[in-house]
C-alpha cells in the first residue's frame, strides 16, 4: 500500500465529508484539506508543476474567497419564514413589525441586521447549528425545543385552522414556505393548515371561500427564538422588548403594521 494509494483512497472520503456538512464554514475548510491532499497526490504522480499550483491556489486563495463571502461577523442574522405584516419582502427591501423591532435592536447592538428566509421547520435546526442569531417570522412562544430559548411573548395572537369545506380527497398538509401556502390558497387547492393571526390576515386578503376556518382554543403569543448558547443576546433582546412595551412604541408599531 503505497502512500499514494492511501492518499487517493482518502480523497473521496474527504469530498463526501465536505459536501455533506450542515455548516458552510466546515465544508469550506474541509475542501481546503481536500486541496492539500490532492496536491500531495499530484506530486506523487510525478507532476510537480501541477502540485505546486494546486497547493497555492486550492489551500490558500480558494478558501480565502469562500470565507470572505460567507462571513458572519458584524451582522445580526435573522432566520425567518415570511409572515405578512410581521416580516416580509416588499420590492427590494424587507418590511414588517418584527423587522422594525429587530432593526432597532441590531442598531442598538451596533450590528447590521440581515434576514435569511428559511422553511419554517428548518429555522430551529439552523439556529442550533449556529447559522443565525435570532429566529423570527411569527414564531409562537412555547415552540421551544432543547437548544433554543424563546423570549416572553411580545404580542398576543390566535391560531386558525383552515381546512377544505366538504372534505376533499387528497389534502396537502405540509408547506415549507408561507408563500407556497398563499399560492395554494389562491389556487383553491385542498389543504389543511394551522396558521397564526398575521399569516391568516395575509391569506384573508384573498378569497377564502371553499375553506372552513376555525379558531383554535388557547392563548398564544408571538416571540423570538434565540440559541441557548447565547444567554447575553437573549437577555438583551428581552430587555429591549420590555422597553418597547413600556414606552408604548410597541403599540404604535402594532397599530401601523397590523391594522
Amino acid at each position: 500500500m503505497t502512500v499514494r494509494t492511501v492518499l487517493l483512497l482518502a480523497l473521496p472520503v474527504i469530498a463526501v465529508f465536505a459536501l455533506t456538512r450542515a455548516r458552510r464554514l466546515t465544508a469550506v475548510i474541509a475542501m481546503g484539506l481536500f486541496s492539500f491532499v490532492i496536491a500531495a497526490v499530484y506530486l506523487l504522480f510525478h507532476a510537480p508543476d501541477v502540485g505546486l499550483t494546486e497547493a497555492a491556489i486550492g489551500a490558500g486563495l480558494v478558501t480565502f474567497i469562500y470565507i470572505l463571502s460567507i462571513r458572519k461577523t458584524g451582522r445580526l442574522v435573522i432566520l425567518a419564514d415570511e409572515a405578512p405584516g410581521l416580516l416580509s419582502r416588499e420590492n427590494e427591501g424587507i418590511t414588517g413589525l418584527e423587522w422594525e423591532i429587530l432593526s432597532g435592536f441590531a442598531r442598538e447592538l451596533g450590528l447590521d441586521p440581515v434576514v435569511r428566509f428559511l422553511p419554517r421547520p428548518e429555522i430551529g435546526h439552523a439556529l442550533r447549528r449556529g447559522e443565525g442569531d435570532i429566529g423570527a417570522g411569527g414564531i409562537l412562544a412555547g415552540e421551544e425545543t432543547p437548544g433554543l430559548v424563546a423570549t416572553p411573548g411580545y404580542l398576543p395572537t390566535a391560531l386558525f385552522r383552515i381546512s377544505p369545506a366538504g372534505g376533499a380527497g387528497r389534502i396537502r398538509h405540509g408547506f415549507e414556505y408561507f408563500g407556497e401556502l398563499a399560492d395554494a390558497v389562491r389556487r383553491k387547492a385542498p389543504l389543511a393548515a394551522t396558521v397564526d393571526l398575521a399569516r391568516f390576515m395575509g391569506l384573508a386578503r384573498g378569497d377564502l371561500t371553499g375553506y372552513t376556518v376555525a379558531r383554535e382554543e388557547g392563548e398564544h403569543a408571538y416571540a423570538f427564538l434565540v440559541p441557548a448558547d447565547q444567554p447575553e443576546l437573549h437577555s438583551r433582546l428581552c430587555d429591549y422588548l420590555n422597553r418597547l412595551q413600556e414606552s408604548g412604541k410597541l403599540d404604535e408599531l402594532v397599530r401601523r403594521y397590523l391594522e
Binding site: 499514494r4 486541496s35 504522480f45 510525478h46 510537480p48 494546486e54 419582502r89 428559511l118
Partner: protein, 115 residues
C-alpha cells in the same frame, strides 16, 4: 487507481451539484469536479517507473508523460478565476433575494418575471 478515484470524485461532484440546494455547496461541488478532472488527466500520464519530466542530465531517462500536465496546469488557475466570478454572482443573488436556497431563488425570479 488514479483513474478510478478520479471518476469516483466526478460522480460525487455531480451528485453534490444536483442534490444540495445551497448555492455555496453547489460551487464546492464544482470545485471537486474540477479536481477530479485534473486528477484524471494527470493519472493518464503516469508511466511505470517514470520520474518528473525535467531533464537533469544527458542521456535517455523514463519520464511520465508531460502532455496531460501541461494541459491541466492552466486549467487549475482558470478554475480559480471562474470560481471567483461564480462567487460574485452568488453574492449578488443572495444580497438581492436574502436566501442561499437555490429553489427559493428560482421561485422568486419566476415570480418577478411573470408578474
Amino acid at each position: 487507481m488514479g483513474i478510478v478515484i478520479a471518476v469516483v470524485l466526478l460522480g460525487i461532484a455531480i451528485l453534490g451539484l444536483v442534490l444540495r440546494r445551497d448555492l455555496i455547496f453547489k460551487l464546492l461541488s464544482l470545485g471537486v469536479l474540477n479536481s477530479g478532472a485534473v486528477l484524471f488527466l494527470v493519472s493518464l500520464g503516469d508511466r511505470a517507473g517514470g520520474t518528473a519530466p525535467i531533464v537533469r542530465g544527458p542521456g535517455p531517462a523514463a519520464y511520465v508523460d508531460p502532455l496531460p500536465q501541461a494541459l491541466v496546469l492552466s486549467a487549475i488557475v482558470i478554475d480559480f478565476a471562474v470560481l471567483a466570478v461564480a462567487l460574485v454572482f452568488a453574492m449578488l443573488l443572495v444580497e438581492r433575494y436574502h436566501t442561499t436556497d437555490s429553489v427559493r431563488i428560482e421561485e422568486e425570479v419566476t415570480k418577478e418575471l411573470y408578474r
